[in-house]
């Protein structure tokens, strides 16, 4: 049985020989990783379906939330999560444990969403015009009300992909800049920059709608 709980997050090992500003960040080795995650990682690498169910229980809802905010509707978000789990299954041999499983899975789902957005741009007739309003469609979603929420959701949908991703991961989902850097393979400074640009743009958009 795997131990449920918050899984620590660390950046991936650098992929290229270029200098990596994340290099100095501490790595998580098997000896410092919680035992539950080690066994879950092993089961995942072995392709055990039980491990995938456990991963879905731990991260599925958050992955779907990320996908929903990046793609703007629930159907595409569910497709993206499904696709991400398939990719995670096919790519389990590439998981070397330098990153946490949470970072690894979210990285896959973010890339899946970005691919889907690129495809939608090539076929604009398939692209959703407005984001769904979850309160209207899912009155039981339980999301707390905020006067800015509707306007913010529409404004986020109009952000560029980079800014939108940084904003969703940091401000909506609460990932750290180190985790975002690992997911997007950028530096922490770049992650902070993208977030700043996103917030500045959002504030301007929100002021125009007032």
């Amino acid at each position: 049985m795997y131990i449920e709980g918050v899984i620590g997050t660390q950046p991936f090992v650098k992929e290229r020989s270029l200098p990596d500003p994340r290099e100095s960040a501490p790595r998580q080795s098997e000896s410092t990783r919680p035992a539950g995650e080690v066994s879950l990682a092993e089961a995942y690498a072995g392709g055990e379906l039980g491990a995938f169910e456990q991963l879905y229980k731990l991260h599925g809802a958050r992955m779907k939330s990320v996908a929903w905010n990046l793609l703007g509707n629930e159907t595409d978000a569910e497709d993206a999560v499904q696709e991400a789990f398939l990719k995670a299954y096919r790519g389990r041999g590439n998981f070397q444990g330098q990153a946490s499983l949470a970072t690894w899975l979210h990285r896959i789902v973010v890339n899946t969403c970005l691919d889907a957005r690129r495809r939608a741009k090539r076929h604009p007739e398939d692209e959703a015009i407005e984001p769904e309003t979850p309160d209207a469609l899912h009155p039981s979603s339980g999301t707390p009300h905020h006067p800015l929420r509707m306007a913010l959701e529409k404004s986020v949908a109009r952000l560029g992909a980079k800014q939108r991703t940084a904003f969703v991961l940091f401000e909506v989902e609460g990932f750290s800049h180190a985790e975002i850097a690992a997911m997007l393979k950028i530096s922490e400074a770049a992650s902070k920059n993208r977030l700043f640009e996103a917030k500045r743009e959002l504030r301007e958009m929100l002021k125009r709608t007032e």
Binding site: I108, V172, N193, L202
Partner: protein, 222 residues
């Protein structure tokens, strides 16, 4: 740490905790910065309301079904490509070395073919240069087949990475390989209709070399 109005943007951009704390203190006495900071923080509070945490058990059922299909397909592929599995057990640098040896053999054979032309017959010297004899053609085809086989083994090794191309770089490699495969298929069709054309054979070799390099780069990608 002392922060002034002019430092506001930098502090918000860099998000250094000490600087942000100093900015908070400064904002207590500066109405303009206080408004900026309040609006900035309000955005963060509103952002959290976009978080969705609905349980979706039906989604897991769908994912599970797809994963089972994938596992089944993987098993079938495994049985079909048992030789490829054996090849994968062979260290990657040896695989690359084997492909390089095959490439070398193909290059040497091609060079030899071009220099060792047999009796001219009725063709002109210029045409003769472009045409291969039956013997050299057979040698070329043998060397080429060995090289293609090596590349296919590399391709089988790279296939799982390419199938799960979850980085833009791998996606680019995948697209490049698709383009190369299409070009190779096209060139092969032409070469089959014009078997003695040395130029087409050279083009084909160049494309195979490019494919080999690309596959090696894919395998080096972590």
């Amino acid at each position: 740490m002392k922060v002034e109005c002019k430092d506001l943007e930098r502090a918000l951009r860099e998000q250094e905790p000490a600087e942000l704390a100093a900015l908070e203190s400064h904002a207590k006495e500066c109405a303009a910065c206080r408004t900026e900071l309040e609006e900035w923080n309000e955005l963060s509070v509103a952002a959290r309301t976009l978080q969705r945490r609905e349980e979706a058990p039906w989604l897991w059922t769908k994912i599970q079904a797809r994963l089972k299909e994938e596992a089944q397909a993987e098993q079938e592929r495994g049985a079909r490509w048992s030789f490829a599995w054996l090849w994968q057990g062979f260290a990657a640098h040896w695989q690359m070395a084997a492909a390089t040896v095959a490439l070398l053999a193909l290059t040497v054979t091609s060079a030899w073919m071009l220099t060792q032309r047999t009796a001219p017959g009725p063709v002109t010297p210029d045409a003769e240069r472009r045409l291969l004899t039956d013997k050299t053609l057979k040698e070329t085809e043998t060397a080429e087949a060995a090289y293609v086989q090596s590349i296919e083994k590399l391709a089988a090794l790279a296939q799982p990475k390419l199938a799960n191309a979850n980085t833009p770089l791998l996606a680019n490699y995948r697209e490049k390989l698709l383009v190369l495969d299409a070009a190779i298929a096209d060139c092969r069709r032409q070469a089959e209709g014009n078997k003695y054309n040395a130029h087409l054979r050279r083009e084909l070799t160049t494309m195979y070399q490019e494919k080999q390099r690309t596959l090696e780069e894919v395998l080096r990608e972590n």
